[in-house]
């Protein structure tokens, strides 16, 4: 059935859709090399890198922006 007016009352419910299945390449972040500049956190279109620099692979689409923007190349894109 459809909610009245097709309103969605559960905020953030797209979390049910695990877009991690979209990717071909997976970012691997090396915390030793990481200088915690927050570039990857800022630039991820999914917002799936948290302040501890853990990547949520349920949602990562493998776009590669994080690896591209890391100033110390701490992130490598690996074929899954």
């Amino acid at each position: 059935m459809v909610a009245i007016g097709a309103a969605v009352k559960e905020p953030g419910s797209t979390r049910k859709n695990k877009t991690g299945s979209w990717r071909t390449f997976k970012p691997i972040l090396d915390k030793e090399t990481c200088i915690e500049c927050e570039n990857c956190v800022m630039f991820c279109p999914e917002g799936c890198i948290d302040k501890n620099y853990d990547i949520d692979y349920d949602y990562c689409k493998g776009c590669g922006i994080c690896a591209e923007e890391c100033p110390v190349k701490a992130i490598k894109m690996e074929r899954e």
Partner: protein, 382 residues
Amino acid sequence: MVLKVMSSNQAIAEAVKLVKPKVIPVYPITPQTTISEYLAKYVADGDIKAEYIRVESEHSAISACLGASGTGVRVFTATSSQGLALMHEIIFAAAGLRAPIVMADANRALSAPLSIWNDQQDSISERDSGWMQIYAENGQEALDSVLMSYKVSENKEVLLPTMVCIDGFILTHTVDPVDVPEQEEIDKFLPDYNPEHAYLDPERPMSIGTFTDPDYYMEARHDMEVAMEKAKTVISDVSQEFAETFGRKYEFIEKYRSEDADTILIAMGSICSTIKDVIDELREGGEKVGLVRVRVFRPFPVEEIYEAIKGASHVGVIDKNFSFSIGGVLHNNIKSMMDVNAAGFIVGLGGRDIKPSHIKEIVEKTKNPSNKPLWIGLKEEQ
């Protein structure tokens, strides 16, 4: 009860004052303009405590109504003809988003050719939108219908918007004696609007206006049809409650001397006042003729109309609109929904005057019906 003489436009503005909307986005258009002006003055004088948005078009007027209604407040706007046509896209959205907006439409012909005068094509052309539609015969009914419509629209089983239609110039720019109810009585009849379904509040975030794929759309639309059906019961209940408090009873239809009539005319709006006069005159002459005035056009009161006309030998339906190839819309709605052989007449387009003689002509032609819709009052080619 103190009767004041005022135009239907002013009567509607008085009703809006009583319902206490919080946001009024409105754009002027002849012949609704004085509604927007009365409301502006009420707001400027503090008689209505609302945000009056001087929008830059009717499309923005209805859009702002929808935004404000979505935020959870009572709203009002008014328009006519070209303005209503410009709103068309959002009119459908408002019903689909289940916003209990109430709007006044001053019925006016649609361009082209450009005309500022009355016919009902504008609101008739929005009949598929999901809005409830009421056609008022006079200023008192316009005022009372606005008051009742908020209660019906805001009912949580309904949540569909309503347009209250009044004939442009004929009602908007002529005066009637009108009883304006007391604020305290209206406050009891129509309490503050407390939205229960979708509204924007950071305490309870929700998304309104999502997009649906084929798995969901059809059910959403069917739910609206169910709500429109429910609206019939709610309209009856609200009318009953209104009658008990204010002493004026409104139904889906109004029967005028139709109980024992051989010939019944069916029409909507102010033309019915002319028809009633002609009926009285014909009755004096011994003719058993009557009128069924359709007041609520959507939801379409099939049973009520059929009950009222089934005993008549002849039925004639008068439309101030037409649909190409098939004739007047009210005529076609009646023919398609009930087993009745009704004649159809198209009158009064673009403000063409309808005289008692035209009504008499219609009564005669109803007794000898043609199987094609007849245009009455059309000038003959020389």
